[in-house]
């Protein structure tokens, strides 16, 4: 090999670190779980655990429907599960609540919205969480300005907006992009003197179905009501506005922000046999909005982990070496607040958190895992686990350097490897934060497949001889530094 080629090779080699071969012994170890995975699949798809997740989920959400932060229903639902998981029939070893203080306590109250001119129409609405009321909770009647996006708003003169209600008909691109309108619609309109913001719901499809979700205000900017309207009505208002017709709206909301409250994260341990202090977290959030049952957002996700431990027990599998910890996060809908409190309270124990998992994007047709963490042996393990889930079509995986699910983000940002249940179905955002998030969206078989995937993943990772590999924090830099040294050396030799 010519010297220069050798140096180029040496220079590039560190970038190929990701294609280094898996540790064969580790791979063999993961593969040895195949009979166990087959047993888990059989148990959940055809066995005694078939339909268990759907049944328990329905029992729970039919009883506790609107588990919004600050509500008695949310705290009752947490206490119900604590009691349930602490009962003699439960397989859990320890169950406790951890307080999450200083949470917002917002109450919707009554809402109404009408088009008054040029036609009469009652509009379906859902004020966004944290929205202020209309002045004195009374009807606010004002002319409307309809924009399609922030750019269009920013081009308006304050005189065109002042005293008016800004209607956003921004359409839907992706949840991540479109929800910026939920967050910023009110303050951006208020900066130009608007008296309220009506925002097209953040969702790709609607049957007159408004979507709520948390909104944001800015310090020093007037807080004005921020209310979701349906895609249908937002489009209608835009059409009318484009025809040059004057639109007058009447809106009323008496939502209130009360004093902060304390809620609770619920923690339930299935203790490991060898390293009980080491935990694999399976999780979902228990709170939802004050609409629907929160069946898919996120009682279903939360239930997967609880059922996973039951499946392990029902199958009589040996205790995994590490603890499987169910965490039922509170106040996710308010901005991952329960999870933030928990992380702050436990960030000194990060070494004990071996792996974190959450499902918070539905269980419509579980495809596999979205994974963040070590790209060598860690990725090898995940790839090997999902390959064993091919019989239930859940063998896809996707690596990302970013978040894989909502509540576990603090952990994964801090370098704890983690996985989210991968459910690519766009239909999730049909129902997200609407009154339609009911058990009707759940399919017992899809839930069973998600349980199988969840159980197999948690069990194997909790039971491996060695902890799930963690990327060293310098790993992204090391190859570059090495490359730099090699490059300097190469240039020195050549020149």
């Amino acid at each position: 090999m010519h010297a220069i080629l050798k140096y180029i090779f040496l220079f590039l080699a560190p970038f190929y670190v990701n294609s280094l071969e898996c540790d064969q012994a580790l791979l063999e170890e993961v593969r040895s779980y195949k009979p166990i995975v087959e047993g888990i699949i059989e148990e959940t798809i055809n066995g005694a655990s078939k339909g268990l997740c759907y049944k328990k989920l329905a029992d729970f959400v039919d009883k506790y429907q609107k588990r919004i932060t600050g509500s008695q229903i949310l705290e009752d639902s947490i206490d119900y599960l604590v009691s349930n998981l602490s009962s003699p029939e439960s397989v859990m070893d320890e169950v406790w609540k951890e307080p999450a203080p200083d949470l917002p306590h917002w109450i919707r109250g009554r809402e109404e919205a009408f088009v008054v001119e040029p036609v009469k129409k009652k509009m379906a609405t859902l004020a966004f969480g944290s929205s202020v009321a209309t002045p004195n909770g009374q009807a606010l009647v004002a002319e409307a300005v309809v924009v399609e996006n922030f750019d269009e708003l920013y081009k308006l003169d304050p005189s065109q907006v002042s005293g008016k209600i800004v209607v956003y008909n921004q359409g839907y691109s992706s949840y991540g992009e479109s929800r910026e309108y939920r967050y910023k619609a009110a303050p951006e309109a208020a900066k130009l003197g608007a008296v309220a913001a009506l925002v097209e719901s953040i969702g790709p499809f609607s049957i007159n179905s408004p979507h709520t979700g948390v909104t944001q205000y800015e310090d020093g900017v007037e807080k004005i009501p921020s209310i979701a309207i349906t895609k249908e009505d937002a489009e209608m208002l835009r059409r009318i506005y484009r025809r040059g017709q004057k639109i007058v709206l009447s809106i009323k909301s008496n939502s209130t922000m009360l004093s902060p409250v304390t809620s609770h994260n619920l923690v339930a341990d299935y203790k490991g046999s060898e390293y009980p202090d080491k935990v694999v977290v399976v999780s979902g959030h228990i709170d939802n909005w004050d609409v629907g049952q929160g069946a898919m957002d996120d009682a279903g996700g939360m239930m997967l982990g609880l059922i996973a431990v039951e499946v392990i027990n029902n199958l009589g599998l040996p205790r995994p070496k590490r603890t499987i910890r169910n965490i039922l996060w509170t106040a996710e809908e308010q901005g991952l607040l329960g999870a933030e409190k928990y992380f702050n309270q436990h960030q000194n124990e990060l070494n004990n958190f071996v792996f974190v998992m959450e499902s918070d994007s539905g269980t419509f047709d579980p495809q596999g895992l979205q994974y963040t963490g070590d790209r060598q042996n860690g990725e090898c393990i995940i790839k090997e686990i999902v390959s064993m889930l091919a019989p239930i079509n859940a063998s896809k995986y996707e690596w990302t350097s970013g978040a894989v699910s909502t509540d576990i983000t603090h952990f994964t940002d801090a370098g704890v490897p983690g996985a989210g249940l991968w459910d690519p179905d766009e239909i999730y955002f049909y129902f997200h934060h609407t009154e339609g998030d009911m058990m009707t969206v759940e399919d017992p078989d899809a839930l069973d497949r998600a349980v199988a995937l969840w159980t197999a993943t948690a069990y194997i990772i909790a039971d491996l001889n060695s902890d799930f590999p963690r990327s060293t924090s310098t790993c992204l830099y090391s190859p570059s530094i090495l490359s730099l040294i090699l490059l300097v050396y190469a240039l020195k030799t050549l020149l």
Copy 2:
């Protein structure tokens, strides 16, 4: 040929009448319209008429949204179109209203429905059209009985139902089958002493979206409120009921049936050049429920015919030999009542009605035509027309001996050949009779394709040298009688 084979052949021959060859001269005549059809397609898909149907439809439904029979909005919308179609810019030659008297005038009023026990939940509702109010329009609080179908109801003893609210959670099979629950839920429950019926909406999919529609009462059976609830809530109530929990509901409705009213069918003629008294009807219904805009049910269908005539004019095509008559039916939602009145008023002129067309199943992705009429040359013509619509994927057709669309059924039952726009998309019943039937469901391109299909079909049939062939009323019997004679003769010869 052996004698017996000859007789068997003769016996079977009449059954093969449908495979007789098309009249070649007629076929050639239909094929000669190919350049015209290509022009129509080009004009609607890429030409000056592109997007015209969507624009005019939006203008109309944004202005007149809830065109329920008896409402001023319905009559205003009819007058608006009369004025519009009579203007100097209109291509119509004659426009008039025909009174349809004695129509029901039902008003919804306010509605509320709550689950009171064992959980608290506000349910979305839409009382069915013609439903009576709760007693004095006040809250009616009663225990619920939940059934999945009529069979389950019929097995109950009156003592189990008396004084209770019957909830139907019948699921959705097809619109035709499932709507029986909308019609009969109340009287069947009332026969057992129930005080109200809550019925799962007739639709395959829901985002907390109740569907209304007309209900029916029986003479001599107590009239009790008949109210649609969502699929989600019906399923929830069934689950709770199956757990053996007592369900208490509180419902309120102050809908009212006022004195009968007169509405109007709107008729607009584009006169034929040679046989102006002979008409090809293109139609849709102008009324809708008091929910949504009735964009797809059925303003969109209605608009196709109006635009078709504009397209013919825009293209400068020769006047067709026969008149193209747009009929905008009223009071379809009340049971095809406007169409029934019109038919009764015109049944002595059936020979002048050459062909009847209606679109009332959406225009989501127009596939072709559903046709009823003569199975020989008539079917040949239809097949030939739709084959020319292959460039817009609208070349399917389906023959049926029954109805092809709602309002034209009296005509087709009386032997007038007819066609309905074939739109197989199940999504139609996602929105049908809901607040979600808004312009958002309409796609400008799909509407353009439907206009092209509609225009080509109406133009060719109106312009053919001979009237569209009509089946003789004895045609189904003649072959059988002939067969019988032949069979007797054959047996006589052989035996």
